[in-house]
């Protein structure tokens, strides 16, 4: 935008041309530089007779509206040079720097805003993931607890059944041993009874009768059995 030199320097060219035209077209010393100054002067001054280039201090009468074409032309030249120099060395770079800065600020703000939004989204995502992980951990713990509980119960029941089986076997063995002992006891007591009876009856019973009696007694004993059921009595 600043490269369009015409716009910036147009006014100066116009002014210069106007002033030059006025200069050439009239009395250089007597005519006011800008065209409208004449009217202003005529209205405002009593004498209505402008003096060119008056430095009226010495003459006693001071005309504040005195036209000074040299000052006017000089102003144009100074202003023109100033505008050219500043345009080249100051306004262009400043304008560009200001715009660059505005753009960089704008983009920095936009980036910061984006980064903030992104960070918020990431945080939210992170939070969700944490919640999921916690759920999973809870599930895993629950399952482990359940498995441990079942394993414990299985072990417990197995141990119980083992113990019961052992007890049963022991009971059975004990009763078998008892039966055997009772049978032996019967056998021995029969022998003992026979021996005792024999000694008692030795004199009254013959040998044949003796043997027959023993056989009868042992058959009866066998029919009763080791548990003593049935009846001998």
């Amino acid at each position: 935008m600043l490269r369009r030199k015409l716009s910036a320097f147009g006014p100066l060219m116009t002014t210069l041309i106007t002033l030059t035209a006025i200069w050439i077209g009239g009395h250089v010393s007597a005519v006011a530089a800008p065209p409208f100054e004449d009217t202003a002067q005529a209205d405002a001054t009593h004498e209505g007779e402008p003096h060119g280039d008056t430095h009226a201090a010495s003459e006693g009468e001071i005309n504040i509206l005195a036209a000074e074409s040299s000052l006017a032309i000089y102003t144009v030249i100074v202003f023109f040079l100033l505008l050219v120099l500043l345009y080249r060395f100051a306004w262009g770079p400043i304008s560009k720097a200001l715009e660059d800065r505005e753009q960089s600020l704008e983009s920095a703000f936009r980036e910061a805003e984006n980064a903030r939004a992104e960070a918020a989204a990431l945080l939210e995502q992170h939070r969700k993931q944490m919640e999921q992980v916690q759920d999973q951990v809870r599930q895993i713990m629950d399952e482990a607890n359940r498995k441990a509980e079942t394993a414990y119960q299985e072990r417990l029941s197995q141990a119980r059944s083992d113990a019961e089986a052992t007890v049963e076997r022991a009971t059975r063995e004990i009763s078998a041993a008892k039966d055997q002992a009772v049978a032996e006891l019967y056998e021995r007591s029969a022998d003992l009874a026979v021996t005792v009876a024999g000694q008692v009856l030795r004199r009254e019973i013959s040998g044949d009768e003796h043997r027959r009696l023993i056989e009868v007694a042992s058959q009866e004993l066998q029919s009763v059995g080791p548990n003593g059921r049935g009846g001998l009595s």
């Binding site: 935008m1 600043l2 369009r4 015409l6 716009s7 910036a8 147009g10 006014p11 100066l12 060219m13 116009t14 002014t15 106007t18 002033l19 006011a32 530089a33 800008p34 409208f36 100054e37 009217t39 202003a40 280039d53 430095h55 009226a56 201090a57 001071i62 504040i64 509206l65 005195a66 036209a67 000074e68 074409s69 040299s70 000052l71 006017a72 000089y74 102003t75 144009v76 100074v78 202003f79 040079l81 100033l82 505008l83 120099l85 500043l86 345009y87 060395f89 100051a90 306004w91 262009g92 770079p93 400043i94 304008s95 560009k96 720097a97 200001l98 800065r101 960089s104």
Partner: protein, 269 residues
């Protein structure tokens, strides 16, 4: 000395340069043209602007952030003129084209105004020749802006606002309005120059008159001249503060009105 004092003497151009505590320095005649005090002041203003804004531009181009109170002051004013004066008055696109002119004119007027506030200085803007030239440049900017935007015929046509009258009256009214509007265009710029000139001139005349009281009473008895001098010096101090404000205000007004006139030229009514 007291009798000869004339307040206007302080506001007109002189072929001499006043140097505080040293006296008057006669200015030379160059190429048949007498160098005057205002010419020197304008040159000082121009050199000051170059000395301020070229380093500012270098600094701004080099660094992303402007550091330093002085540089920031000027940069803030530049941005203010761009964002609060030029762009609202002219419109974004056209504003940037005329921004160099507005920046230059603002600071040139401002520094010329302020130079009148320092000892030995003078306000070149208190001279109608200077302000008229500046106003003429604004007129040139207006013409260039209008012609560039709408062409020569379009610019002249655009001067006349739209009239909501029966078609039969238009041929009579339009030329009348055209003459009035052209006169208005010129008068606007005359007033632009006179406003700045009159403000600066009046301010300095008032200061000179009040200070002149001290000269008037300089030979009176002490009990008279003591209070008078105290009052006039105090008044001058207060009015100088006002004048300082006016210096900024008038520079702003000149720039703002220039921007408004340019803006009116580039937009159709």
């Amino acid at each position: 000395m007291a009798d000869e004092h004339n307040p206007l003497d302080h506001v007109i151009d002189h072929p001499t340069l006043e140097i505080p505590f040293l006296g008057e320095l006669d200015l030379p005649v160059l190429f048949g043209i007498q160098v005057t005090r205002f010419m020197v002041m304008e040159a000082v203003a121009a050199l000051l602007m170059l000395a301020i804004f070229i380093p500012l531009a270098r600094h701004a181009a080099r660094q992303k952030v402007t550091r330093g109170r002085l540089l920031n002051v000027f940069e803030a004013i530049l941005v203010f003129i761009r964002d609060k004066v030029a762009r609202p008055a002219i419109g974004h696109h056209h504003a940037d084209q005329f921004l160099p002119y507005l920046w230059t004119v603002f600071f040139f007027v401002l520094i010329c105004n302020l130079l009148g506030m320092i000892p030995g200085g003078a306000s070149a803007t208190g001279n109608i020749n200077v302000t008229a030239t500046l106003a003429l440049m604004t007129l040139g900017a207006v013409v260039v802006a209008g012609v560039k935007e709408m062409g020569p015929a379009g610019f002249l046509k655009n001067l006349v606002p739209h009239m909501d009258v029966p078609w039969i009256m238009k041929p009579f009214l339009w030329p009348l309005m055209f003459v009035i509007e052209v006169a208005g265009l010129l008068i606007r710029h005359v007033v632009l120059s006179v406003r700045l000139f009159a403000n600066m001139l009046a301010g300095h005349i008032v200061l000179a008159v009040i200070l002149g009281f001290t000269l008037t009473v300089s030979e009176a008895a002490l009990y008279i001249k003591g209070p008078v001098i105290a009052a006039s010096v105090g008044g001058v101090v207060l009015l100088s503060l006002l004048e300082l404000f006016v210096a900024f205000l008038q520079a702003y007004i000149f720039t703002f009105l220039s921007a408004l006139f340019i803006g009116a030229a580039v937009h159709s009514h």
